[in-house]
């Protein structure tokens, strides 16, 4: 433990942009994203894989970035909340969440949003039961989930209406 930690260089694509960095082998992917790449939109709520706040897409699949090491993402393609719309130009999915008053404190939000992106790509017309099942890997302490479920439903409608982005 008192030996100097070993490092490796990591190259990856984040939201379509090539990024690289030198990281300690033991550094988690979420710490690398937040500290080294300064993408602080992805949050850490538990560091043990339960809360889903750290959910990102890795080659299109939702993963918990607290349970992966940065070095494991070498050569992979990542999507994070920062890759969606901006405050002046929300994506239809973000707009749907805003209109349904989906969130309160916003800490869980990036994880729910990325989980929803993955859900709707795979299943553009989910039932309420499917939505609730899919979201049950993400914890929210503020909302009681109903407004988030409504947001997913209206996001699905918006995307079906061809506002896909």
């Amino acid at each position: 433990m008192t030996t100097t930690p070993t490092t490796q260089s990591v190259q990856l694509t984040v939201n379509g942009v090539a990024r690289s960095g030198e990281t300690e082998n033991r550094k988690t992917l979420v710490d690398f994203l937040r500290d080294d790449l300064e993408l602080t939109g992805t949050h850490v709520g538990c560091e043990h894989g339960v809360c889903g706040a750290c959910t990102i897409l890795l080659d299109g699949e939702p993963v918990r970035s607290c349970l992966m090491l940065a070095v494991q993402a070498n050569g992979r393609s990542l999507e994070t909340i920062e890759g969606l719309g901006s405050p002046d130009d929300l994506s239809p999915l973000q707009q749907a969440f805003r209109e349904s008053h989906g969130f309160q404190c916003g800490f869980c939000t990036p994880g729910f949003v990325m989980t929803t992106v993955a859900l709707l790509r795979e299943n553009p017309d989910p039932s309420e039961a499917e939505i609730r099942h899919c979201l049950s890997g993400n914890l929210c302490r503020c909302t009681g989930y109903q407004s988030i479920v409504e947001g997913v439903k209206s996001a699905a409608l918006a995307l079906q209406a061809g506002e896909n982005r």
Partner: protein, 782 residues
């Protein structure tokens, strides 16, 4: 409705009463929120706490030498440093007779709970700081620990604080009205003991901060997420000896709080001390295990209760004894155990008892600090609403009938026994409406049929009033605000609220923009920075925002509008009373073509005009402030209705329907109101069915991860249907708080439904925690 309520602008910009889209969402939905851990400063170091593995032990020695040698470690501080170089902090708002010792940032000579911070390690990275924690060598002598009420109350047992002769931190007796007479007269006395288990607030963002002392200037800034920036500032200044005027606390976005972050925590003090002594910015972000172990817990109470009743369902009086486990260290500034007084004064609720008495004890144990959690006084509502159902069952009456029989008149003729007004509370109305919406009679018929088929279904409901602000909440704690027109005509509002999910940037802007007559987008709400917000002891808490903060903003905006109109009148050579502001334009009534903007008025107030023949209009100023105390106070009220089905194979409780009828006066933003209610109910579902901050009887903590402390997910929280009654109280500010009511009442509605479902098995629900194993035990399946 009084004339005052219509004084606001009536243009198309009006948003109060609508689900205006939240300002906050633009940043939180795009990953641009700024939470504590998102901060980075040049030269910033990282801290980790080494915590006690023992519930109760004497610290014999601490050896940090090996840890200090680890490359990257910058400093390590222990309790000895805290004792020598800081001042202990003490509760500010403690009831008379409350006993404690001053609280230091780190344990000094002994540890009093699993997770007690013993050392703070500061290093170049958090990874290194945690490595160094493992190199610290501590010699402990384990002591017998206190994990139960009985152990705490055993006079021959160990003491949490050896300077005190017992573990009883507070004793209090409250008695109102005719108690003994009622018990002497009653046809029946009903007794039950109710226990509420220990749970926790668990915001998704834990605690943390970046403490930034600048030795050059002597300025000390603590970036954190607190419900009470000003009280935290005061405690940091006092503990460290930094002058108050050089101390500043700054919030960003806060990822939930629920009462936990109203306190100044010991880690705040230790972190700030480390930064102060090292002269460097230091960040500490709590991990989830630390959070569950040591941040704060709530709600461990046991109440032995008896009710004096007549056979027609009249409840003459209730009396009882209660014990509350405050854990080891008292919360600062609001002692958790201090809530026993509020529990006693609130317990008669909306009912007309003749007498009520409660004797309470607060004991210390070797557990985490008991701290505020959404509706901290909830024990009284749960025990009372359970007891009413117990009485109904004893008397073979419908629980709705017993409530109807005992509701106090709300015409002002009856006050609560403890003195508070019950004027205009709409409890009875919400009960009738929820029974109607829930089709109570039909469900009862169906229940009989379902039981005949062997299904286990139950119906429960419970009624509450929420002081929002209650007569107790508003007193002596004014809410201040400042309103200012900026040179560009934008309106800035400075509030004492410290929002952590409630959407105040939106709701307060709705109030201010309506009042001023400008679009909501022209208002910015400033909060959470002690450098520019008015002083407040509390900040966000006690459901104070809806009435008190909104009322304050209403009044400061109104004063400012009068100033704007006076200046505009001079510019337009008109009479102020002939002018209005609509859609951001100031014009004579009925003549919108002749108009000024706020920016034009501001230009004349703030700058020397190019044409020197026109004087600067310096008076009145474009800043106004106001304070609001909530008037006579009033109640939010409601009844929750819950229909459950229990699977007797698995012990799983399924909530088939959850219905809320509530009345918080006029809603500023119905979407925000509903979010507060649903969030509270979800926490109630969690509290009854899943969550337990479990300790064994030696005070070893058993719920240190999210695999042990179970939060309800989207699969467990049911759909929650809400109907609002918008009775407007007889006050000029019509909005009432809803922050606490959901969690206040949900456990009662749910446990009443479960007891109803299990009644064929003779089950009595006396403990609030009902995980599947307990359900099966109650149903006599296991």
């Amino acid at each position: 409705m009084t004339a005052l309520s219509t004084a606001a602008g009536i243009g198309s910009t009006r948003t109060v009463g609508t689900a205006a889209l939240r300002v906050e969402d633009l940043r939180i939905l795009t990953g641009r929120g700024r939470y504590v851990d998102d901060l980075k400063f040049p030269g910033m170091l990282h801290a980790a706490f080494l915590r006690s593995p023992f519930a109760h032990a004497r610290i014999l020695s601490i050896d940090v030498s090996a840890a200090l040698e680890l490359p990257g470690v910058v400093g390590i501080f222990t309790g000895a440093d805290m004792a020598a170089r800081t001042t202990g902090i003490e509760p500010l708002v403690a009831p008379p007779g409350f006993r404690s010792e001053p609280v230091f940032g780190l344990a000094i000579d002994k540890v009093r709970l699993v997770g007690d911070p013993v050392a703070i390690v500061v290093a170049d990275s958090r990874y290194i700081a945690e490595d160094a924690c493992e190199l610290i060598d501590i010699d402990y002598e384990q002591l017998e620990a206190i994990g139960t009420f009985e152990q705490a109350l055993d006079p021959s047992g160990p003491k949490v604080f050896e300077s005190l002769d017992s573990n009883i931190m507070l004793e209090m007796s409250n008695s109102y009205g005719e108690v003994d007479e009622s018990f002497a007269e009653a046809e029946l006395i009903v007794r039950r003991t109710f226990a509420q288990h220990r749970v926790a607030q668990v915001p998704m963002e834990g605690r943390g901060g970046v403490s930034h002392f600048d030795p050059e200037s002597g300025n000390f800034v603590y970036y954190t997420g607190t419900q009470s920036p000003h009280s935290l500032k005061g405690y940091i200044s006092q503990a460290l000896g930094v002058p108050l005027e050089q101390t500043r606390v700054v919030n960003g976005d806060i990822g939930g709080a629920f009462g936990l972050k109203i306190a100044t925590h010991r880690e705040d003090v230790a972190l700030c001390a480390a930064s102060y002594w090292l002269g460097r910015p230091v960040k500490w972000i709590e991990d989830r295990n630390e959070h569950l172990l040591a941040s704060g817990q709530a709600r461990e109470e046991r109440m032995e209760l008896e009710a004096a009743v007549n056979r027609d369902g009249t409840i003459l009086a209730m009396r009882g004894t209660m014990v509350l486990d405050q854990g080891a260290y008292p919360a600062v500034p609001f002692v958790g155990g201090g809530i026993v007084g509020l529990i006693a004064t609130m317990m008669p609720g909306p009912y007309a008892f003749r007498g009520f008495a409660m004797s309470s004890q607060v004991v210390a144990s070797n557990k985490c600090t008991y701290s505020a959690y959404r509706a901290p006084w909830a024990m009284e509502t749960w025990a009372r609403e359970r007891m009413i159902n117990v009485i109904a069952a004893e008397l073979d009456l419908d629980p709705a009938a017993v409530r109807r029989k005992n509701f106090a008149a709300n015409d002002g003729s009856v006050s609560m026994l403890s003195g508070a007004t019950l004027l205009d509370n709409s409890c009875a109305q919400t009960l009738e409406r929820v029974l109607e919406l829930g089709e109570y009679d039909r469900l009862r018929t169906e229940q009989a049929a379902a039981r005949a088929q062997g299904r286990c279904v139950g119906i429960g409901f419970a009624t509450f009033i929420e002081g929002a602000p209650g007569p107790a909440a508003g007193r002596g704690l004014n809410e201040q605000s400042i309103a200012r027109v900026e040179p560009d005509g934008q309106l800035s509002i400075f509030t004492t609220q410290a929002p952590n999910g409630q959407g105040h940037e939106t709701t307060l802007a709705q109030i201010a923009s309506d009042e001023m007559g400008i679009p909501i987008g022209n208002v910015k709400i400033y909060h959470g920075d002690t450098a520019d917000t008015p002083y407040a002891l509390i900040g966000t808490g006690g459901s104070r925002a809806a009435t008190l903060a909104s009322g304050s903003v209403l009044h400061s905006s109104r004063k400012l509008k009068a100033n704007v109109l006076e200046l505009a009148a001079e510019m337009l050579e008109a009479n102020p009373s002939d002018l209005v502001i609509e859609d951001g334009l100031i014009h004579p009534i009925g003549v919108p073509t002749v108009h000024l903007t706020l920016a034009e008025v501001a230009a004349r107030a703030y700058a020397e005009p190019a044409d020197t023949s026109e004087p600067v209009l310096a008076e009145p100023t474009l800043t106004a402030e106001a304070a609001y105390d909530g008037g006579i106070g009033s109640w939010s009220a409601g009844t929750h209705f819950c229909h459950v089905e229990i699977d007797l194979q698995t012990g799983q409780v399924k909530i088939l329907r959850y219905l809320v009828v509530e009345d918080c006066g006029r809603m500023i933003n119905p979407a925000v109101v509903e979010g507060q209610v649903r969030g509270g109910v979800a926490q109630g579902v969690g509290e009854v069915l899943f969550e337990w901050s479990a300790y064994d009887d030696q005070a070893n903590f058993l719920a240190g991860t999210f695999m042990d402390y179970l939060l309800p997910t989207a699969s467990e929280v049911p759909r929650i249907d809400i109907e609002h009654l918008e009775n407007e109280p007889n006050e000029e500010v019509f909005f009432r708080g809803v922050g606490e009511g959901g969690l206040l009442i949900a456990p009662a509605a749910i446990t009443n439904a479960i007891e109803d479902a299990l009644s064929p098995y003779g089950a009595q629900i006396n403990d609030q925690y009902l995980p599947p194993a307990k359900i099966l035990e109650l149903a006599k399946v296991i």
